[in-house]
């Protein structure tokens, strides 16, 4: 049984795990870089170990340092959170070698999840549909042309060495494909010594829908419904919800079963997420397994009543799942907004610095996971997620209303956030009707609407602002007067001396 967990992370997720430890009577061990001396996770843990300078490569990605802290503290398990080392198979192996229980899948399973091509072929065997395209790497252009003809144009030509939009070419016909293949192959050989291209169908308008899954070390598995995460900017999620407005119980059962099959195919244990793309015609394609706890796990916790971190710990302890698939039922609806430190109008560029003041919303059906407190700092060294605001309602509309009032109540002084953007999005008829897609912001020109909303809001508050300004001018004038009088008194005194 795990008695002491080192949390190899920082920020809100470290705090989330510490709270789970506290509730279960497990000791928690925090680690921190120089930048995080005053961070909340350091203050909340039972013990805290310093692991290096601010740069992640020297601290939160420094496996040796972290394992050393675990051994020094006597921690018998490590929770990796998300990001950092959470999907690093070597770290998982290192922990297991040192007899530290890694709260996550095995290194072997993680490697399978992390390798696009291996994962794709494992899914093919398990009959989990992936995006149509080449089953593996395509060496010759003629083979690529065959596949493209088969699945239909337009197609994407991708490099396995790419990622996050790099090394991807969109082609509309045979001649474009021939040309692109030659170019991409050349580039790849120049850069990596070999070409490793594959072909995938281009999907123009898609939803991102993922299934939460859990699988224990005895092979018991279940999915805990879907989350729709289609509201994104630059392929990063902004708003997530469960259930999805386009998933009915039949679809949930069907795709949920595929998600479970995917987990079995890679012998996954722990909590994890099977990500899918969904087309407007209702087709789902598996894309990958995120082999860790997701940022957006609270929406699933709200609609299932389960504590996913506790489940992770139980699974790591070798316990069987305490429920069967049929025991799980979606209760109401939950929405999450990610409160990032970034400037919506500067293309979501980071905005860092000291947080002078913060008001954290609360109320029925409201949950906030955050590291913020008045006087804390948002560091440029780490990711921009400061807080997650999650609301629950008996139905989508109640969750949405509660989100709106909580966004209005959420005040963060010191950095820019997307809170005004979320308020605009949540009021659009498109969001309310569930017409979501990953290009939602562009498709509905949301930033233009945001500008209008901000103008309206400024107009509404202009009289109060003017009143404040008038008082301020008066106040300054009096201070200057008082100051002048004092100067005169001083001068008189000096004259007397």
């Amino acid at each position: 049984m795990i008695k002491k967990i080192l949390i190899a992370n920082r920020g809100e997720i470290a705090i989330r795990v510490i709270k789970a430890c506290n509730a279960l009577g497990i000791k928690s061990v925090a680690v921190y870089s120089d930048e995080d001396v005053n961070s909340k996770h350091v203050k909340m843990a039972s013990e805290s170990y310093h692991i290096g300078p601010p740069s992640p490569s020297q601290s939160y990605l420094n496996m040796e340092k972290i394992v050393e802290a675990a051994l020094n503290s006597g921690a018998d398990a490590v929770h990796p959170g998300y990001g950092f080392l959470s999907e690093n198979a070597d770290f998982a192996d290192l922990c297991e070698n040192k007899k530290i229980n890694f709260i996550g899948p095995s290194g072997k399973s993680m490697r399978l999840c992390g390798d696009k091509m291996l994962c794709k072929s494992a899914m093919a065997k398990a009959k989990v549909p992936t995006v149509p395209g080449s089953p593996g790497i395509v060496e010759e252009v003629e083979k690529a042309l065959d596949i493209a003809n088969n699945i239909g144009y337009p197609v994407l030509l991708k490099s396995v060495f790419g990622g996050g939009g790099r090394g991807i070419r969109l082609v509309h016909n045979e001649s474009e494909l021939r040309q692109a293949f030659e170019l991409a192959s050349g580039e790849s050989k120049a850069a990596f010594g070999k070409s490793a291209l594959f072909v995938e169908k281009f999907l123009p308008k898609i939803r991102h829908i993922e299934f939460q899954l859990v699988r224990d070390k005895h092979g018991n598995a279940a999915h805990i419904f879907e989350r729709e995460c289609s509201i994104q900017r630059r392929h990063q999620k902004l708003i997530e919800m469960s259930p999805s407005p386009v998933v009915d119980q039949k679809t949930r059962d069907e795709i949920g079963q595929l998600a479970v099959n995917a987990a079995v195919a890679v012998d996954y244990h722990n909590a994890g997420t099977a990500e899918f793309l969904r087309l407007d015609d209702g087709t789902f394609y598996f894309i990958e397994i995120n082999a860790r706890l997701q940022v957006e796990h609270p929406v699933t916790e709200f609609v299932s009543g389960l504590d996913l971190v506790k489940l992770q710990i139980d699974i790591a302890n070798g316990e069987p799942l305490p429920f069967k698939q049929k025991d799980l039922k979606v209760n109401g609806c939950a929405i999450e907004c990610r409160i990032n430190a970034e400037d919506t109008f500067l293309d979501f560029a980071p905005s860092t610095g000291r947080i002078y003041d913060v008001n954290i919303p609360s109320g029925p059906g409201v949950r906030v996971d955050t590291y913020l407190y008045p006087g804390c700092s948002v560091s440029p060294y780490y990711d921009s997620l400061m807080a997650k605001l999650i609301t629950w309602g008996q139905n989508f509309e109640e969750a949405r209303q509660r989100m709106q009032i909580s966004l209005a109540d959420f005040y963060i002084e010191g950095v820019e956030t997307a809170i005004p953007l979320y308020r605009t999005i949540l009021d659009t008829k498109e969001f309310i009707s569930g017409d979501l897609s990953t290009d939602f912001l562009d498709r509905f020109k949301i930033l233009d609407r945001l500008r209008d909303d901000l103008k309206k809001e400024a107009s509404q508050k202009s009289e109060a602002a003017l009143a404040a300004t008038l008082v301020h001018s008066e106040f300054l004038k009096n201070r200057i007067m008082a100051h002048k009088e004092q100067s005169l008194r001083w001068k008189a005194q000096l004259d007397r001396n």
Binding site: A341, E342, D343, F345, L346, A349, P350, S351, T352, G353, P380, Y381, Y382, D383, S384, A408, Y411, E413, L447, R451, L454, K455, E457, A458, S459, Q460, K461, S462, E463, A464, A465, L466, A467, A468, T469, L470, V471, H472, S473, E474, F475
Partner: protein
């Protein structure tokens, strides 16, 4: 006093009509008299009731030409001399023409990952001058005008703050 609201281009005028004592005032905005009662006040913050509504305002900027207040979380900038001023509201997303400016400033804090130009280079508007990294994200900083790189104010690996000058381009 007349104020121009940068956010919306409206013009408002307001005056303090009289003090009622006990931190209460009668003020006039757009020719309507309103009651203002100060609950708490410091040089940077005021909490007050305007008629029957509570407001909290923080003063974040006060220069000879403009004043910025955050009222109930909404940032509002007034130009004190509405006839002279024509600065565009930052959040409008419309950058003012900066061709005449020499300084290329960083709009984000970050670490310098790479410097893509050298002193004396001829560059065009939109050319990448350097790449900054912040919060796991790489951001290319592009020249705001055509010109010659007169000087570079940054070193690779160094940190820059928001609004730091990165280069002079003439």
């Amino acid at each position: 006093m007349k104020f121009k609201l940068e956010n919306t281009d409206e013009t408002l005028d307001g005056t303090i009509v009289k003090s009622l004592g006990n931190n209460e005032f009668v003020i006039k905005i757009r020719n309507h008299e309103r009651n203002l009662k100060i609950l708490n006040m410091s040089h940077e913050k005021i909490e007050f009731m305007l008629d029957n509504s509570f407001h909290i305002a923080k003063y974040t900027e006060n220069s000879t030409s403009k004043i910025t207040v955050v009222v109930d979380g909404v940032k509002i900038t007034f130009n004190k001399r509405p006839d002279l001023d024509n600065i565009v509201y930052k959040n409008s997303g419309m950058e003012s023409s900066t061709d005449s400016q020499i300084n290329l400033k960083s709009q984000i804090p970050g670490r310098v990952v790479s410097i893509n130009v050298s002193q004396g280079d001829n560059i065009k508007k939109g050319d990448t001058v350097c790449v900054l990294e912040s919060m796991k994200m790489q951001v290319s900083i592009k020249s705001h005008k055509d010109g010659v790189v007169k000087s570079l104010k940054i070193k690779q690996g160094a940190s820059v703050a928001k609004n730091d000058v990165l280069a002079e381009i003439e």
